[in-house]
């Protein structure tokens, strides 16, 4: 992508309309825009798209993706934005100028978000959700046109083959009397991994039988692979942009503002010591962490994901590496000798503090991550209690914490409606006797809020064992404006972020 920035007044005929965007507003963004663009406009439309993507994320957290409510909410939220990007993504009637904004803003954010694996992942996830929403809103002709333009041809299952697999297809959700009339595509299972993962399609001998309604999954998988490929390439091209010192700071600060607060960079490291944890766990830990803490105390052991979830949280509240080692050691060595602990577990703890392996400074898990990934299996105590605990057991646990019956009922009904974080917020209010309405996005946010509430509204003071927690965001902002230097530092981070794989290889070392 070639961006020429000149402080010229906005000119109108900037962009070549690419074949794909002329025919349909839906596109794979295969061709980068060309032409000139004022810096102001550059920033405006990029920020607008960022807001759109954040809204997409928020809606996705509140509702089940693809459900009726999800779509309505999405429609409503997107329509409430005034800008052209939003118009292009949600209104049937948008002018070519809006399509252009959609096109350009996507490419700007690619640049802003290509720098690190974690940013890429976030960007891809939101763009895919947005695309899904748009695709499902398109009428039949546009969909057809889109498929043709992008050379997406999928094999249709013949009538006789449908008959052979009738009962299986019905079991996978295609209505029996509609089978002969509906289009079913036969594709390699590699192309519909999402559907496989959720066991939503029939697979036989390596081929998935995808009903028309799930066509979007096929298209999305294509979009995903193109986008992730493009981002990798963009990340390599980024250093070439470095001569322009107006764009880089802007791009850098744009991507910073994703996902809200980053709980990885505590400035208060060292203010919490191992012996304070027990007390804090009772007053200020969210339930997920209380669970882990209690089970660690009880079994003197936690399995891999439990150690990760809890260990990073503790790091986030300000436990230093030395204190962390002390803390885990004192529990684990009630069950094993110190030698074994040192061999099997210290590496992983040091690793989380960026002292081993690829030396990435890992950040604590957010609620979404806890709720949606690495669901607990037999032997595990991690996860979110509002999501991963039987309602009956959750009830007991809440009662044991002396939550009044009406509160328990309220929490349970929120849980049944899949509003886990809201349920957690309710639990917060009931345990802190506050009317302050909040639902956590992050266990560490919960902790901070709790400290605030207990210390009388202010950022924690001398009480509760002298815990002083500062807001990482503001302290960072005051340090310096993002400069070229900080950007190139960020670039190095790329090496550090195949996080899951590292986690897993660590996991492999320990057990078996």
């Amino acid at each position: 992508m070639e961006i020429i920035t000149r402080r010229t007044p906005r000119s109108k005929k900037l962009v070549d309309y690419e074949a794909e965007s002329v025919h349909s507003k839906l596109q794979f963004y295969r061709y980068p825009p060309t032409g000139t663009l004022s810096l102001q406009e550059f920033e405006d439309i990029a920020l607008e798209r960022l807001k759109v993507l954040k809204a997409v994320e928020t809606v996705g957290l509140r509702h089940i993706k693809g459900s009726e409510e999800y779509r309505n909410e999405m429609e409503k939220v997107l329509r409430s934005f005034p800008g052209g990007v939003a118009r292009a993504v949600c209104r049937a009637k948008c002018d070519p100028g809006d399509v252009r904004k959609d096109h350009i803003s996507h490419f700007i954010l690619r640049l802003a978000y290509c720098r690190m694996e974690e940013l890429r992942r976030w960007f891809i996830a939101q763009e895919l959700d947005l695309f899904r929403f748009r695709f499902q809103n398109e009428n039949k002709e546009n969909v057809k046109l889109f498929l043709e333009n992008n050379n997406l041809n999928y094999d249709l299952v013949s009538a006789s083959e449908k008959e052979d697999h009738r009962s299986e297809l019905v079991a996978c959700g295609i209505q029996g009397h509609l089978i002969e009339f509906s289009d079913i595509y036969k594709v390699e299972f590699y192309d519909v991994l999402d559907l496989i993962q959720r066991r939503k399609v029939y697979v036989s001998r390596g081929f998935a039988y995808v009903p028309h309604i799930d066509l979007v999954t096929l298209v999305l998988s294509e979009f995903r692979s193109q986008l992730s490929h493009a981002l990798t390439i963009a990340s390599r091209a980024l250093p070439n942009l470095e001569e322009d010192n107006r764009l880089l700071p802007m791009l850098a600060s744009m991507s910073k503002s994703y996902l809200g607060q980053d709980y990885g960079k505590k400035t208060s490291v060292g203010q919490i010591t191992a012996d304070m944890i027990e007390m804090l766990s009772r007053t200020s830990f969210p339930m997920c962490m209380q669970e882990l803490h209690q089970n660690l105390r009880q079994h003197h052991h936690l399995r891999h994901w439990g150690r990760q979830q809890y260990g990073l949280f503790l790091k986030g509240i300000g436990l230093s590496l030395e204190e962390a080692l002390k803390f885990w050691r004192s529990e684990f060595t009630k069950m094993m000798d110190g030698d074994k602990f040192d061999k099997q577990y210290t590496y992983n703890i040091r690793h989380n503090y960026g002292k081993e392996g690829k030396r990435a400074d890992y950040t604590p898990y957010s609620c979404v991550k806890i709720i949606t990934t690495n669901a607990p299996a037999v032997g595990d105590y991690h996860g979110c209690p509002f999501r991963h605990v039987d309602v009956a057991i959750l009830r007991q646990k809440l009662q044991a914490k002396r939550i009044p019956e009406s509160g328990v009922n309220e929490i349970v009904s929120l849980v049944k409606g899949s509003h886990y974080q809201v349920a957690c917020g309710k639990y917060f209010m009931l345990t802190h006797n506050t009317g302050h309405d909040f639902s956590p996005n992050h266990p560490n946010e919960y902790f901070d809020e709790s400290q605030k509430a207990l210390n009388g509204g202010k950022d924690a003071g001398a009480s509760s064992g002298g815990v002083k927690l500062s807001q990482p965001k503001s302290s960072q902002a005051s340090q310096s404006t993002p400069s070229q230097k900080s950007l190139s530092q960020k670039n190095d981070d790329q090496d550090d972020l195949t996080l899951d794989e590292i986690d897993q290889s660590m996991n492999g070392i320990e057990e078996s």
């Binding site: 009962s167 299986e168 079991a171 996978c172 959700g173 299972f189 590699y190 991994l193 999402d194 496989i196 993962q197 959720r198 066991r199 029939y202 697979v203 036989s204 001998r205 390596g206 081929f207 669970e291 089970n295 891999h304 994901w305 074994k340 061999k343 099997q344 690829k358 690495n374 669901a375 607990p376 299996a377 037999v378 032997g379 595990d380 105590y381 991690h382 996860g383 209690p385 991963h388 605990v389 039987d390 009956a392 057991i393 959750l394 790329q494 090496d495 550090d496 195949t498 899951d500 794989e501 590292i502 897993q504 290889s505 996991n507 492999g508 070392i509 057990e511 078996s512």
Partner: protein
């Protein structure tokens, strides 16, 4: 698994050299991991890791050919050998390449089933122990997964091995699997096969909906049904005590049905009778169109007790190490 000759782990240092000299099937092993030598680097870029005496752990070992492998193994006499991924560079050189460039590219798809994960549904042993009574669980697991891997996914080259202590490992070696299945794909396949969900705080770990039971699960149910009575009733006596009954009753979500069944159980004595009574009751209730919540409860119970319990983290990562076949388990000598 019959333990007629007792094994003393302390003898291992004496026995291993002999094993690695006389018995370890190097040429077979090499032939497997060499995969016909296409591409040439396939063997030499493979990570091995050795666990030596006193838990000394060496990662990123790699060997250019069979001779070097043989020599190293005999020299080090590892207590345990793990196999990892095929990397972009020789793993032993990993420090000399930039961390970002050193990447795991391909691997077999592996599954690890561990008997310790079944402790809540077997009553003969616990932890790392196994006996002939609970070994049936591994037989169910192998039958069910093997069928799914072959019939659903069309994989052909599947190797099952006893893990040496308390479970089985499965290696799927098809070329497409090794090359095309990246982390996302492995996760998808593993999750597809994983129906036992929920941690220690989730009692009921299988949930089915009538009329929309996925064909793959239906076939698993058929396999379990064939051997369920023999396993659960004969070998485990799974309704033979109050505590055991309570476990099964907890899986019935419909309160009134559960109370009725609880009552039914009091009138009969053996596991066999109780299992029969339970099935009859559920049939009777559902045929009247009541107890919607428990239309599939019989199947759910069978699956919760017998469906393979996968450690899916092992399968998901490209970079995950798994104990190598033909390697003696240091704790059991198997």
């Amino acid at each position: 698994m019959a333990e007629n000759i007792s094994y003393d782990p302390n003898c291992l240092p004496d026995l291993l050299p002999i094993y690695y000299k006389r018995l370890f099937p190097y040429s077979l092993y090499y032939k497997w991991l060499h995969y016909g030598g296409v591409p040439k680097t396939y063997f030499s870029h493979r990570e091995f890791s050795f666990t030596l005496k006193d838990d000394v752990y060496l990662r990123y070992q790699s060997f250019s050919d069979q001779q070097e492998l043989e020599k190293e193994i005999q020299k080090r006499c590892p207590y345990k050998i793990d196999i990892g991924a095929i990397f972009s560079h020789r793993p032993k050189d990993h420090k000399t390449v930039k961390a970002a460039a050193f990447q795991a590219l391909e691997k077999e798809l592996v599954f690890d089933i561990d008997m310790t994960d079944y402790d809540d549904v077997r009553f003969c042993c616990s932890g790392a122990e196994i006996c002939l009574k609970c070994w049936s669980l591994m037989q169910f697991a192998i039958k069910i997964l093997d069928r799914a891997l072959r019939e659903d996914f069309g994989f052909h080259h599947i190797l099952w091995v006893y893990s040496g202590r308390r479970g089985v490992h499965c290696w799927v070696c098809d070329p497409d699997v090794r090359k095309r299945l990246q982390q996302k794909g492995r996760t998808a396949v593993a999750e597809y096969l994983n129906i036992i969900r929920g941690g220690e705080n989730m009692t009921k770990k299988v949930n089915l909906w009538e009329g929309s039971i996925h064909p793959s699960i239906q076939k698993a149910i058929e396999i379990v049904r064939d051997g369920f009575e023999q396993y659960a009733v004969d070998k485990q006596d799974f309704l033979g005590s109050d505590a055991k009954m309570k476990k099964v009753l907890a899986l019935i979500s419909d309160d009134s049905v559960r109370r009725t069944v609880e009552d039914d159980f009091k009138h009969v004595k053996t596991s066999r009778e109780r299992w029969q009574v339970l099935q009859d009751r559920v049939k009777q209730v559902t045929s009247k169109g009541e107890g919607r919540k428990c239309a599939c409860v019989i199947e759910e119970i069978m699956l919760q007790y017998c469906y393979p319990r996968l450690d899916i983290n092992v399968s998901k990562g490209l970079n995950h190490l798994l104990k190598s076949p033909f390697c003696v388990h240091p704790k059991t000598g198997h």
